[in-house]
Symmetry: C2
Amino acid sequence: MRYRSRLHAFSELTDADRTAIDALLDQRQRVIAPRRDVVAEGEVPRFVHVVLDGWACRYRQLSDGRRQLLSLLLPGDLIDPYPQAVARSDHAVGTITTMTVAEVAPDALAALGRESATIARALWWNNHVAMGTQREWIASLGLRSARERIALLFCEVYFRLRTSGRCMGRACEFPLTQADLAEATGLTPVHVNRMVQELRRDGLIAWGGRTLTILDLDALCGVASFTPAYLHLDRAVSAG
Amino acid sequence: MRYRSRLHAFSELTDADRTAIDALLDQRQRVIAPRRDVVAEGEVPRFVHVVLDGWACRYRQLSDGRRQLLSLLLPGDLIDPYPQAVARSDHAVGTITTMTVAEVAPDALAALGRESATIARALWWNNHVAMGTQREWIASLGLRSARERIALLFCEVYFRLRTSGRCMGRACEFPLTQADLAEATGLTPVHVNRMVQELRRDGLIAWGGRTLTILDLDALCGVASFTPAYLHLDRAVSAG
DNA sequence: CGGAGCCTTGAGATTTATCAAGGGTAGTGG
DNA sequence: CCACTACCCTTGATAAATCTCAAGGCTCCG
């Protein structure tokens, strides 16, 4: 089963809840080219965007041009998860691949949260997971080596895609370039390249084209010190 | 004016809202010794803790002992900002100094959020700021140098304390040890020491005892590439 | 007076960055 | 169908930032 949005994956939702969310997602959609900004830094977003297809990322850029990815936005993710927001964004969101987003009216989502207590909980749960993921990135950048950071990112993406039913066995899409990976892990592209080669040589992964295959999941998780606790999958419906 | 909790600082709150929150904070309090865990990793917290006095931190520790601070919890901060949580914590929270916390029943806070739309918004705003702060830490660890990271942390603490009315001019409390600072910035204590000395030598800060004095705020912000946008102070009542 | 915790300093090792160049591949236009 | 460009990946050599190890000093407290 493939979830249209992360909210759908929340285990306590009723069928009626899921139908109501679907209705919101169908109201208004947009297709965005790769490498474009969806939300600029300082902008006040007019919609709650939900990624329906394709990948994007949050990022922050310093005045001297240095850029850091802050999180990956995969299919199903909410880009502006604040029903009541109307706040100036403190970071930018840009596409990586061609992306289809649903543009949901903040008021409509807020209304849904008031009508259904489970949807309200789903919104908080989604937030909880997003914060946990950010914390894991902090731990990654702060105390893991280059090799460990890269392994961690592979693990995270694999588990997240699997939750939403977007893996085939041990393989999944992975459309980032090595330069993107460098911006996500706080390393240089050159060094990322060497570490990726090492992971390949050690038989942990295969990665080429836009496909990542995890050849030895346990070993990769071990290298990354990865445990999926921060994804709070215990409250998610498993997609297999 | 000194705010008891971050929620109090939300500019849209009415006096009635603030009184209601105060009532929650007064129900049950606890004093915790320095260097103790408030919430252990994997624990399901039974309360929403609010820091009334003293400092704490979120942290994550890998099996080999390496430890990374994930965020600082200053007076007023909510430790478990999920009214509906009842989720296993994916990280630990420990005190730095002696700390007084209010232990609020999650249900009571949730009820308050249902009764007052502004309190509900305040909870989301609080979350929004917490996420922004985590993103800034990611950007700090990912693309800033040692010197820049340390300067950034000083800036962040100063601005956050000022918002809640806990600065005297350019001076504020700063009870972290250099080893703590190292765990927050992903550096070694030795290197932190050298960078702090550099910042002192350059006349940017004075730091000793448990007091930090910012001697040249503009220059320090410049070194750190600090802009307080992520704190979303535009929706906070200024404490001066 | 002794110990513990924290800060400071020095010297050498390691990780990662920087600079520079070459090769592969896919798409584009002639 | 071929040349050409753009983008990405790869490799090597050297440099810089940060870590590691080791030791000494200061201050507070019992």
